[in-house]
Amino acid sequence: MSSFLPLLPILGGVIAMFALAMLVPLSFAFVGNDAALYAYDGAILITAGCGLALWWFTRRFKRELQPRDGFLLVTLIWTVLPAFAMLPLLFALPGMSVTDAYFEAMSGLTATGATALSGLDALPLSINVWRCWLQFLGGLGVVVVAVAVLPLLGVGASQLYKAETPGPMKDSKLTPRIAETARGLWVVYVGLSLLCMLAYRAAGMGWADAFMHMCSTMGLGGFSPYDASIGHFQSVAVEGVAIVFMLVAGVNFARYFVVWRTRSLMPLVRCVETRSYLLVLAASTLLIALYLVAHDEYGGLGEALRHTAFHVVSLATTTGYASTDYAQWPLFAPMLMILLGCFAGCAGSTAGGIKMVRMLLLVKQARLELVRIVHPRAVLPITLGGAAVPGPVMASVIAFMMVYGATLAGLTLVMLFSGLEPITAATAVIASVNNIGPGLGDVGPAVNYQSLSDFQTWVCTFGMLLGRLELLTVLVLLTPQFWRK
C-alpha cells in the first residue's frame, strides 16, 4: 500500500485534467443543442471532483517517482481514465451496460476503434464527438499530455514517458527536458491534425465530420460517426485524404519533430523504419489488388487498387476504417491485411502492434543467424541506420515477441473456451491486442462487438490495454518481484 500512496496525487491530477477534455463534446452539444447536452455536466463534475479530491487527500504522500512507479502509475491511469470516459456514454445512452461503455471508452482511448454500439448515425452528435476525441487524446498518449502540461511530475516524468511510449529504444530524448519533448510531439501532432481536418473539409465533409474523422484518423483509431464508416461518403477524395493522413500518422512522430527542428526532410527520407513501412504497404497493396482482380472481385485494376489501397493502409496502420465490406473478399486478402496490422506501424507513431522497427531487427537477426551457419567466426553486429543496436535491446525485442505471441495464443484460447468460433476468436484477439478494431467473422467490418458476451468483451478490453501499453508495462505488474519490498 505504501508504494501506492505516492502515486495517487499524480493520478488525481491526471483525472482532473481529463475532466477538461470533456469540454470539447460539451461545447459541440451546446452549439448543436443536442440530446446529450445534460450528460456532460454530471460527467465533468464527477471526474473533476474525484480527481481533485484524490489529489487533495493524498498530496502529503507525494515523493519523487522511482523507476518502478512509472509502470504502476501508467497502468493505473490507463485503467482508471476509461472508467471516467464512459460516464457521458452511460448518462446519454440509458440502455448501455457498464461492460459495453467501458469497452467503448477503452477502445477510444487506446485508439483501437472496435465498437459495441450500433446505429451510430442516430446517436447525438456530441457522443460521437466524444468517442472520436478520445481516440485523438489516446493516440499519442494521455500520459504524454500529462508530462507536457502537468508540472507536478518532476523528474519521474521520464519514467512515465518511457512506460507509455511504444518502441524498443526509448532513451533517445529529442530535447534535454522530457516536458519539452512531450510538448514538441504534441505541437507536431496537433499541427498535422489541423492539416488533416482542413483536407477533409476540402474533400467535401462538413466541419463536424471533418473534426471527428481528423481525430480518429490521426489517432489511428478508426471510430466513425457512421455505421458505414468512411463508406458513408462514397467519395474518392475522402478516401484519398484518409489514406494520406493514416500513412502520415503511422510514422514516428519524433521524425517529424526533427524535420521541423532541422528544417530538412532528410531525417524522414533516411529513416530505415519509415522506408520499410512504406515499402511493405506498397508491395502488399499491389499484391492484394492483383489477387482481387484475378478472383474477379473487381472489374478493373484501378477500382481494385482504390479499395485495396484504402483497406491495406487502414488495417496496416491499425486504424480500422472501412469503405466496403472487405470481409466478403476471399479470405487471403483480409487475413494478410490483419497480419500487416500486427507489425507495419512505426515505433513512436499512434499505431499499435509489434512496430516495424522490432520486425526489422528480428529479420536482421534471423539473417545473421543464417550467415553465421556458413561463417561461424564472422563478427556480425546488427545495425539500424548505420548505428549498432546494443545487445540488451535485441534481447528485449526477442522477449517482447515471445510475450506477444503467448498473449495472442492465450487470449485466443480463452475466447475459444468461452464458445466463440475460431475465426472470430482469433481475429477479435488480434484486432484488440494490436488496436486495429474490426476483425473478421462476427466482429467483421460490417458488424460490431455487440454480439460478444460480457466475459468476451472484458477479454477484448484487457487485450486493448495490453496492446496499447506494449504488454510489458502491464505484465510487469503481475510479477511477484515487482511487489516485493
Binding site: V155, A157, D171, K173, P176, R177, I178
Partner: protein, 484 residues
Amino acid sequence: MNILILGAGRVGESVAESLASEANDITVIDTDPARLAALQDRLDLKGVAGNGIQPSILREAGVEDADLFIACAPMDETNLVACKVAHHMFNVPTTIARIRSPEFQDDAPLTTEREGFAVDQVICPEESVTRTIRKLVEYPEALQVLEFADGLVSLIAVRAVAGGPLVQHSLAEIPQLVPSTDMRIVAIYRLDKPLTELTGTTRIEPGDEVFVLAATDKLRAVLGALRRIDRPVKRIMIAGGGKVGLRLARMLRGEVQMKILEVNKARCDYLATQLPSDVLILNGDSTDEELMGDENVQDMDLFLALTSDDEDNIMACLLAKRMGAKRVLALINRKAYADLVQGTTIDIALSPSHAVIGELLAYVRRGDVEAVHSLRRGAAEALEAIVRGDKGSCKLAGRRIEEVALPRGVQIGAIVRGLPTPAEEDALPAVEMRADGELKTQPQVIIAHHDTVVQTGDRVIVFMPSRKQVRDVEKLFQVSATFF
C-alpha cells in the same frame, strides 16, 4: 538556460545534478554510453555519446542553442579544444573549462578569445578545494568560510560551543554582548534542521551550526563570540600528497609545520623536490596508525585526509581523531558519505566538485550576480548581486530592508557600497583612478539591520535556506520594464 556539459565524470555529474534541479535544459556529452544511460535515468537531461571535440557530436548535442558550455572532461587539452570549437564554430556565448594544470591557469593569453582557447572562466576543483582548506587553516574554528565582494565580507559557518559569550543568549542581546562587532546571523541549523524563523528571541544553543555574515576583518571576533578561540594552527599533517595536497603545501609553506603522508614512493620523491625541505615527506599509508603515532599525530592542530579515496579519507580521519589530533578534515566525493559523516567525529567533510559549483552558479543565475556559494551540500545558497534600477522599477532599491517582501527564511545579510562594478572598473581610465592616490570612495561594508536602506549600485548579499527560493530571490533584483 540551455547548458551543455562535456564529460560525465565526478565534476560533470555533480554539476549536472545541481543544475538539472532548477529548470535548465541540460545536455551531457560523454564517451561512455553506459554512464550517460545511468545519468539519464536519474536526472531529467539528455545524453549524447561521443567525442566532445568533434563538431558533429557538438551539433548533435544542440550546441547552436547553448547559452553555456562547461567542459569538464578528464584531460585539459580536450576541454581547451572543446571550448575553442564551441566558441568559434558555434558562437556559444560563455565557455567554462575545467583545467587541472596550474600552468594553463597562470598563462592568461592561452585562454583569450582571439588567439587563445576562448575560455571565459577556468574552473579547477582542486584549486577551489585548496583555497577552501586554506581558509579553514586560517580560521580553524570555522566549518566553512566564504568570501563576498572581493573579500570584504565573509560568510562563516561555525558550531556554537558552550562558553562562547553569545551562546545561550538570544539574538536581540548580540549588540549589548559584543558591541564592537557588527554581525548578522543569517541562519541557524539545529540537529541538521534549519530554524525557520529567526527573531530577536531566538536563542543560540550549544551545538547549533550558525551562519554569520560579517566584515572579513571582524571574523576573529565573530568566532570568539560563538566559541572560545583556539590557538592558531601551527602543525598540520596531510594524508595524501596528490594534487590537492601538493597545492595546499605550496600555499602554506613557511606559515605552518607540515608533514605529508604519501603511499607512492615515486610521488614522495617528486613531492620532496617540489617542496621546501622543512616540509616533511613521509612514505607510508594514510591509515598506518604506527606511522601516525611515530609522527606525533596527537600534537597536530589539524589533520587533513586528502587522498582520492573516500573510504581511506574517512578511516584516516577517524583514526587520527581517536589518536588525539585536534581537528580532522576529510575530502569526500560521494554525497552519501558526506551526509553520513556529517556531525560525527569528523569535524569537516569537503567535496571538491561541490566546492567548484558556486563558481558556475554565478553564470547561471539571472541578474547582476557577482558571486554564488552553495551551502550545506547544495541545499542552501548565498548570493551576491548588484542592485539596479530605482525605487519605481526594482523591488529592492531605495527601500528599507523591513519593507522588502522577502521569501520565507531568506535573509539580506550585508550590503557593500562604493565598490566599482567590473564594467566600471574597465571603463575608468587608469589615470583618473590614480589621481588622488587611491579609489575616490572607500568601499563600505554595511551589516544589514531592519532599517538599513538599500541603494542603487549596492552589492547585496542574500542568504536563502532552500535552493527552491532562487527564482524568487532573482526576481527581487530584476529591473522591471519601466527602467531606462
